[in-house]
């Protein structure tokens, strides 16, 4: 017969708790060694303690670092771009400053050149006339002093007449005389129409009557007045005019 105790007692630390603990079968220990996927869910005892998922925190931190690193990269990219923009702005600003600086220099030059002292020096050198200060009494308003204006005008007239040569004066006076005589004759004829010869009077009266008749016809039946013959005549005259270079429709 095999004496169990004998064998057991031969084992070291048989009384220790650890040994007992190690000797007892721990099914959980065994289960844990098997890959999780191969264990059918029904075989896991109900009182089996769920294993701690230690990989979760690792995931969290790694994810955070990835996000952080990505953020850093994005920030650096954005910063780089803004830096480029900033450089461009600075360049533009400095070019504006340069232009402003040049403008200021130009204004300064202008101030020196146009200073009252310089201007009066230049005026002395290049202007022939010296500036004169007029008193108030020397300046007259033309609107209020019409008489002075008229007198001045008359003076100018007489001056211009005096300056003309004798021949021109005689010619002008002759022309004036003839024009005056013509006007007088016309006035006389207008005042006494009986003095006009009978033939001329008849001709004129005929012409007046004819024109009156034409105007009457035109007013009463305008369609009859514009005949084909007339249009033909008018068109021939216009063609001739065009051929000779005379304007077809006289300008008004």
């Amino acid at each position: 017969m095999i004496n169990n105790d004998k064998w057991i007692s031969s084992l070291p630390n048989k009384n220790s708790k650890n040994y007992e603990e190690s000797a007892t079968i721990d099914h959980k220990k065994w289960i844990d060694t098997i890959p999780k996927d191969t264990i059918p869910k029904d075989t896991i005892p109900r009182d089996a303690i769920p294993r701690k998922e230690t990989y979760n925190s690792f995931k969290k931190y790694s994810l955070m670092t990835v996000v952080f690193v990505c953020g850093l990269i994005i920030v650096s990219v954005v910063k780089n771009q803004t830096r480029n923009l900033e450089k461009e702005i600075n360049y533009l600003e400095s070019s504006i400053d340069l232009i402003e600086f040049n403008l200021k220099q130009a204004i300064l030059d202008n101030e020196v050149i146009t200073s009252p002292e310089n201007l009066s020096k230049l005026a002395k050198e290049y202007l022939n006339e010296d500036f004169v200060y007029y008193k108030k009494s020397q300046i007259r308003n033309l609107n209020n002093g019409n008489e002075i204006y008229k007198k001045k005008k008359e003076k100018i007239k007489t001056k211009t007449l005096n300056n003309l040569s004798v021949d021109i004066k005689n010619k002008i006076s002759k022309k004036i005389k003839t024009k005056k005589e013509e006007i007088e004759k016309l006035q006389e004829l207008y005042e006494n129409p009986k003095k006009i010869p009978v033939e001329i009077r008849k001709k004129v009266s005929k012409q007046i009557e004819e024109k009156k008749f034409e105007l009457k016809n035109l007013y009463q039946s305008p369609g009859e007045v514009i005949t084909l013959e007339r249009i033909g005549r008018w068109s021939i005259v216009q063609v001739f005019k065009a051929f000779l270079g005379i304007p077809i429709l006289p300008g008004r």
């Binding site: 084992l11 190690s22 670092t65 952080f68 690193v69 850093l72 920030v75 650096s76 910063k79 830096r83 900033e86 450089k87 600075n90 360049y91 600003e93 400095s94 400053d97 340069l98 402003e100 600086f101 200021k104 220099q105 204004i107 300064l108 101030e111 020196v112 200073s115 009252p116 002292e117 009066s120 200060y133 008193k135 108030k136 009494s137």
Partner: protein
């Protein structure tokens, strides 16, 4: 053996497991430590980098390149402009050029001297030769223009050292020397506006907006030109003039001769170069008679027609003998006392007022104390003990001192209806006179204006030469004999146009001489409707020189002032028209 084997089996299994476990745990522990260490290093690097990135992202500082580039265009001081925006003072970059003779051998030194003498013929070559031979560094020139610097630079000489620095320049040169003042080598104001507004001129937030003054370059030029001409005509040793707006105290022109070119940077020690208008304290003579009469009129002791009988030709008070400047009638009224400038008449009026009232009146016009002004160069009237004799002498402007600026201000108060104003060089918004303190009544002001007009317009007046047609000049002459000297200090203070006063002009000539060769143009009168010319005058009182100069000034500045005030008068007419 079996036993051993069996035992070995169990023990081997267990021990191997334990050993394995221990080894793994040890390895794991070591590797974990390494990993944590490495991760710590990486993490700390990451944190450092991220901190740097965050810092750069948040920093508002611009990059070095742009800052350095911008430096060339930055100004240290604001520009100063006149009322029309004309630049009176500005800042430019100039160059100091030094020479390091140690860098040159003898041949190169000779070459340099030849080149310098060709480029700058005005240089003292002998002096430069000496300095070069000493082999020590020296400044060849300071405040050189960029063109001059380029000329030197193009010689290609290695011994030149250029030092760029901002420097103040004044395009109008002498025109505003007493007002603008100067700056030192480090661009700080040492006199004039440059000093009194040093902080204001250095304000970085306002660096692009210029400091606007009330002065007018054109008026200043015309007045200065006339004063220079007067200096030739009347042989005066100095002169001064101030033009002021009587409604707000704005100074349109302030000239004091002799003056100096601000760009030359000369250190001046002579008292002739002081600002005679603000710093000079003088006895100004008969111009004070107006104050005695104004005080009496304000107190209703007299009226313009009050007659003074038995006016002696001379009076004695203690050791003082008071005389008339000319033979005058013994019976004069108040108006005639002012028009004919009677000393005895003024004494009589002052005696009627009394010491206390007269002193208070002069104090109310700011004539006896230091005045508030925009310049630091401001004089203080000399103090004195009041008494009966002092009252008598002060009534006609002797034994009492003040600055010409204070005198002009006091006349402005008398002419503007009695409202207190303060002279100013800085442009302000239009102030409403009615809100200000009243010194005299409107009635007294009008009476004084009428009397002052008669001083100029009447034949017996002392200021006929200033009766410029169209400008209604009113004013008062003042001839004072200088202390411990026989020479005179002549003043004429004018207000124009008298019917609606706008400006006060003070002209002062220091030690004018009689001008027998000067041709005086007498204005038209009843006897001489076209006026007449006169030569050979031996008197040198204010009426024969200062008044003439003031008349010429008004004749020339009048049109400019009229144009400037045209807009204002149009507005006035519009308002007047609407109200009607």
């Amino acid at each position: 053996m079996k036993r051993k084997k069996k035992g070995f089996y169990f023990e081997d299994y267990k021990e191997s497991k334990i050993i394995e476990k221990n080894i793994y745990t040890k390895i794991l522990k070591i590797s974990f430590k390494r990993v944590t260490f490495l991760s710590f290093v990486f993490l700390s690097l990451l944190i450092i980098c991220s901190i740097k990135i965050i810092y750069l992202s948040l920093s508002t500082e611009k990059n070095f390149y742009s800052q350095n580039y911008k430096k060339n265009f930055l100004k240290n001081r604001r520009d100063i402009v006149d009322r029309n925006g004309i630049i009176l003072a500005s800042e430019v970059n100039l160059y100091d050029v030094g020479i390091k003779p140690k860098l040159l051998n003898d041949k190169e030194k000779k070459n340099l001297i030849i080149k310098l003498s060709l480029l700058f013929p005005d240089l003292n070559i002998a002096k430069i030769k000496k300095k070069i031979s000493k082999n020590n560094f020296f400044w060849l020139g300071r405040r050189l223009t960029p063109q001059e610097k380029d000329q030197l630079w193009l010689t290609g000489n290695k011994s030149f050292e250029f030092n760029e620095r901002p420097s103040r320049i004044y395009p109008q040169r002498n025109l505003f020397s007493h007002v603008l003042g100067q700056t030192d080598d480090i661009n700080d104001g040492i006199s004039g506006i440059e000093k009194s507004f040093n902080k204001e001129l250095k304000k970085i937030e306002k660096i692009k907006t210029p400091l606007s003054l009330t002065l007018d370059s054109n008026l200043q030029y015309l007045i200065r030109k006339e004063l220079i001409r007067a200096h030739k005509d009347f042989q005066s040793i100095g002169s001064a003039a101030v033009l002021m707006d009587i409604n707000n105290g704005e100074i349109l022109s302030l000239v004091s001769l002799p003056d100096y070119d601000l760009n030359q940077r000369i250190s001046l020690k002579s008292e002739f170069y002081i600002n005679k208008i603000t710093l000079g304290v003088y006895e100004l003579g008969s111009v004070f008679k107006t104050f005695a009469i104004a005080a009496a009129l304000e107190d209703k002791i007299i009226n313009p027609n009050t007659v003074f009988d038995n006016l002696e030709n001379s009076l004695t008070c203690d050791k003082y003998i008071i005389r008339e400047h000319d033979k005058l009638p013994k019976k004069l009224n108040t108006e005639q006392i002012l028009v004919r400038s009677s000393n005895i008449g003024a004494v009589r009026i002052a005696q009627k007022i009394g010491v206390e009232k007269y002193r208070n009146f002069l104090n109310s016009l700011d004539l006896l104390s230091t005045i508030n002004f925009d310049l630091e160069e401001i004089g203080t009237p000399l103090p004195f003990k009041w008494g009966k004799c002092k009252l008598a002498t002060t009534s006609y402007g002797h034994g009492i001192t003040t600055t010409p600026l204070q005198l002009a201000n006091a006349y402005a108060i008398l002419a503007n209806g009695g409202y207190k104003i303060e002279p100013s060089l800085l442009r302000k918004e239009k102030e409403v006179l009615k809100k200000k303190k009243k010194i005299i009544s409107e009635k007294t002001s009008n009476e004084i204006k009428t009397m002052l007009r008669k001083v100029v317009s009447l034949n017996e007046g002392t200021a006929n030469f200033a009766n410029i047609e169209g400008y209604e000049v009113a004013g008062k002459t003042g001839t004072a004999v200088k202390y411990n000297s026989k020479e005179k200090l002549n003043t004429f203070i004018s207000i124009f146009p008298a019917s609606r006063p706008m400006y006060v002009l003070l002209v002062m000539l220091d030690e004018p001489k009689p001008a027998p060769n000067f041709v005086y143009n007498f204005p038209p009168s009843e006897k001489f409707p076209k006026g007449y010319k006169y030569k050979g005058e031996k008197r040198n009182t204010a009426g024969w020189n200062t008044v003439v100069v003031a008349g010429k000034i008004i004749e020339k500045i009048g049109p400019i002032l009229a144009i400037n005030s045209l807009q204002a008068s149009n507005n006035f007419l519009n308002v007047f028209g609407q109200s009607n």
